[in-house]
Assembly symmetry: C2
Homo-oligomer: 506 residues x 2
């Protein structure tokens, strides 16, 4: 590496270290807002987010920093693999913010903050009209933001929707997703009909027996220890919508929620968010040193969380592992419930209204609905005001259920308050993990590990194969690196077909 | 006001609004560290505090800002009362940081952050030697910081200890405190002996009966509602050491702790911290607009928290008010306990080791011990390493009790990890509130209000008389403004004598 490159690298690292600090603070404020912040303080705290976000923006808009970043990008062949990834990312980011003034950035961030506050309020009152105006503004600033970006080779032919999708899952646009979801519909719609026509009766009465917060706390602690979540570098709190928050290298927190009449909701929130947390906790420490620790895509992230939640968490072997403890912690709820009954209840296929509570089979339909609506929003073929109606129609069409109010319909998810293009990553995640689960199973016999509670072995394989290069490779290269194959939804569809044919005795 | 003054004022207000934002972020991070932050993340979060603290420091070291502040101070006669207070405070602060470089400031803040982490660790392990080195450093940077300050008319003849005390309670130095505490000793030592010799038996067995976290949560919510704490603008969390945190105008949080064998500890933490919170919540909104909302001294603050906690909270009328609810929430613990027994148990005088758990009578001795040790630390007549021994000796001398380990001795308080001079404000607070309680009682008959649960009336009087000018007046002027009298410890000593003579039938 020549002297100039070395100096530029030093300068860039200095600025990115400062940026990490701002991001740490922003993550903390966000975490606070979603867990404990009193209602009257939400707006003031939103202003604080905007303030620090603007400081961060000014930092990365600094001319010397940009110049150094662009220099590194041009000389990326001189860099090691980690720094090369960093330089490429800097270049991509630069393209996005080049024409964005700090004033504009502050204006945009205020729109998103207000939208979050309005969504919270609208959801509380189950009244979409309290959110509509903000959502319209979110759409407008999203479009304005995209129009300000400088196009490059990668993005020059992309539609608005393609570019949004690309922000979250590089290389996965409407062409790929349309094909993928059409294929899912082709295979899943007839299978869902068969399941719904099946005579198999799944007992679920006990799933809604009352449990206490104290019991749920114990269950949370237990499950965190089962999957080997590192309590020294993380903790949990309660929030309406469970999430995982990478605060800093040694701080990866999760949230969950306690419903007194649905103990499984907390359990599978903990395992899902716990999966996200493991991904962050057990990534290579070099990622932090080179500031590329947030390069992993959301699709990759969901692949991991959903593997722990569904592929492992709802497997026969996992239910076998936890069954005694579930009975011990919830003696009243589990009275007279067999291991088989618990397994089947946790895998009941039931068309329902709430995405986060959906079973892994019908889940894909919830995503398809959101994806199709987002395409229409961005194309301008749907009015924001009509969203509750369109939402209802889609749910009736795909799942045969109909929300009775906005809270259980269009207001259920927070995501749109910060933009569009996010949802498909949830489904893509299922497809990735079905592909690499096969490899893991060949290498270590997953069911055997699960039954023995040997999550060190599972986490170890994941660390070496799935986590290690996630921040260094684009999704298509990453999944090929793990599995030797190109992306396909078929492994996931095969898995669903096999598992649910057995459960529903088709 | 002339045009230049107007412009300077605008500039200063702009910078102070930014400073408010940094302080909001710092408060949030502190709150997080003391409530939920995982152990492995404490150091990283301390670094974040240093980072943002340094940004704040750079902001207020800006030459134009300082120049404008000094201009306002010189032209303070042109300003309204609020802005005048602000200008005077800016001038005082300027004197303190004039010779402090950002590098020094960062170095100091890192010492304090490390000391906090080390104290936490030392306390956990009950091993003072793990904290000694950091405490020595705290002493050194405290001295260095003081040596860098520019002296002015007010401070030119002050000793090191005087200046530290003055930072927390303006106008209250060693001369005043030595006299005050000597007088306290004169009156309290013989009274304590009489109490200890009294034949009166106070029943306390039930105070250590087991209660659950769920019950304590209910009690916390109940007490917050009794004193009319505004839940829209505040919330509570759990921490080892209870505290109140003014985050922002509409966010004043408290913390408490749950001990399963000491339900009163949580109760009186909530009332104490709740008192602090009321002071912040019901201050004039102009304080925020003029950035003087943190001008109230700690002595003033403790006067309010201790009035709610002790003067009101441990009164017969308050016990009468809450007794039915205490029985309802803790039916097992309160079985067979009369209202009188509860009142007496809450007022038992007992020489003990832990300051925060001490009764209001012996409390003053805990402060005197810390004050005397601090004077020796700052004078260099005691080695840091000898503190545990000296601590033990003082406790034996004044209270006749002796700590068995560092955790219940010298490591019990967090305060020294951030410096010295703070403790006396706790005692001064008791003396202030005994003075103004008389005025309030004449105006609204406090016992009658308490029995009727009419805290709106009490808070209303406090707001008009105690809270209103606290940020605008120095302590001596403030107490005179409320009571028409000069500061004296005698009202407090009279109150103790009268109350405890009755309880102990002297």
């Amino acid at each position: 590496m020549n002297q100039t490159t070395k100096e530029k690298l030093e300068l860039v690292n200095g600025v990115l270290s400062e940026a990490d600090k701002y991001n740490h603070a922003l993550a903390l404020i966000n975490f606070d807002m979603e867990t404990i912040c009193p209602p009257g303080a939400m707006e003031e705290q939103g202003e604080l987010l905007s303030f620090l976000g603007n400081k961060l923006f000014l930092l990365i808009k600094d001319e010397k920093f940009i110049e150094a970043g662009e220099y590194l990008y041009e000389h990326r062949d001189e860099l090691d693999e980690f720094d090369r990834v960093m330089a490429e990312q800097l270049h991509r980011d630069y393209r996005k913010i080049k024409n964005l003034t700090p004033e504009k950035q502050l204006e945009f961030s205020r729109v998103f903050n207000k939208a979050f506050v309005d969504w919270t309020n609208a959801r509380k009152n189950s009244d979409f009209s309290l959110f509509a105006e903000s959502l319209q503004k979110v759409k407008e600033v999203t479009l304005e933001d995209l129009s300000l970006r400088e196009k490059d080779e990668e993005t020059k032919n992309m539609s608005v929707m393609d570019e949004l999708l690309n922000d979250y899952e590089r290389g996965m646009g409407t062409k790929e997703l349309d094909a993928c979801f059409e294929h899912c519909k082709e295979r899943l719609v007839p299978l869902l009909k068969k399941i719904q026509a099946s005579k198999k009766v799944i007992r679920t009465d006990f799933m809604h027996r009352k449990v206490t917060d104290e019991q749920q706390k114990k269950m949370t602690e237990y499950l965190m220890s089962v999957i080997k979540y590192d309590r020294n570098r993380g903790t949990y709190a309660l929030s309406e919508h469970p999430f995982t928050n990478l605060m800093a290298k040694d701080d990866v927190r999760i949230t969950t929620h306690f419903y007194e009449d649905d103990f499984a909701s907390n359990m599978y929130s903990v395992i899902h968010e716990g999966g996200h947390a493991l991904f962050e906790m057990y990534q290579p420490v070099e990622n932090f040193e080179h500031h590329i620790n947030t390069e992993k895509t959301l699709g990759m992230h969901e692949s991991v969380s959903r593997m722990y939640e569904n592929r492992i968490g709802r497997s026969k072997s996992f239910v076998h592992l936890i069954y005694p403890k579930v009975c011990e912690i919830f003696p009243e709820a589990m009275e007279g419930v067999s291991e088989k009954e618990l397994y089947e209840a946790l895998n009941e296929v039931k068309a329902s209204l709430i995405r986060t509570e959906a079973d892994e089979f019908t889940y894909t339909f919830h995503i398809i609905i959101r994806y199709e609506l987002e395409k229409e929003i961005m194309a301008g073929t749907i009015d924001i005001a009509d969203l509750p109606k369109k939402w209802k129609e889609k749910y009736e069409e795909y799942l045969g259920v109909s929300p009775q109010n906005d809270r259980e319909g269009v207001l259920q998810d927070v995501h749109w308050s910060s933009g569009f293009g996010y949802f498909p990553t949830y489904s893509i995640g299922n497809m990735y993990n079905s592909m690499y689960y096969k490899c893991m199973d060949e290498a270590i016999d997953v069911d055997k590990c699960v039954e023995a509670g040997d999550f060190d072995k599972i986490n170890g394989w994941m660390k070496e194969n799935v986590f290690k290069k996630a921040d260094r490779l684009a999704p298509s290269a990453w999944i090929k690196d793990i599995t030797g194959r190109d992306f396909t939804p078929d492994d996931f569809l095969d898995y669903l077909e096999e598992k649910y044919s057995k459960i529903y005795e088709l």
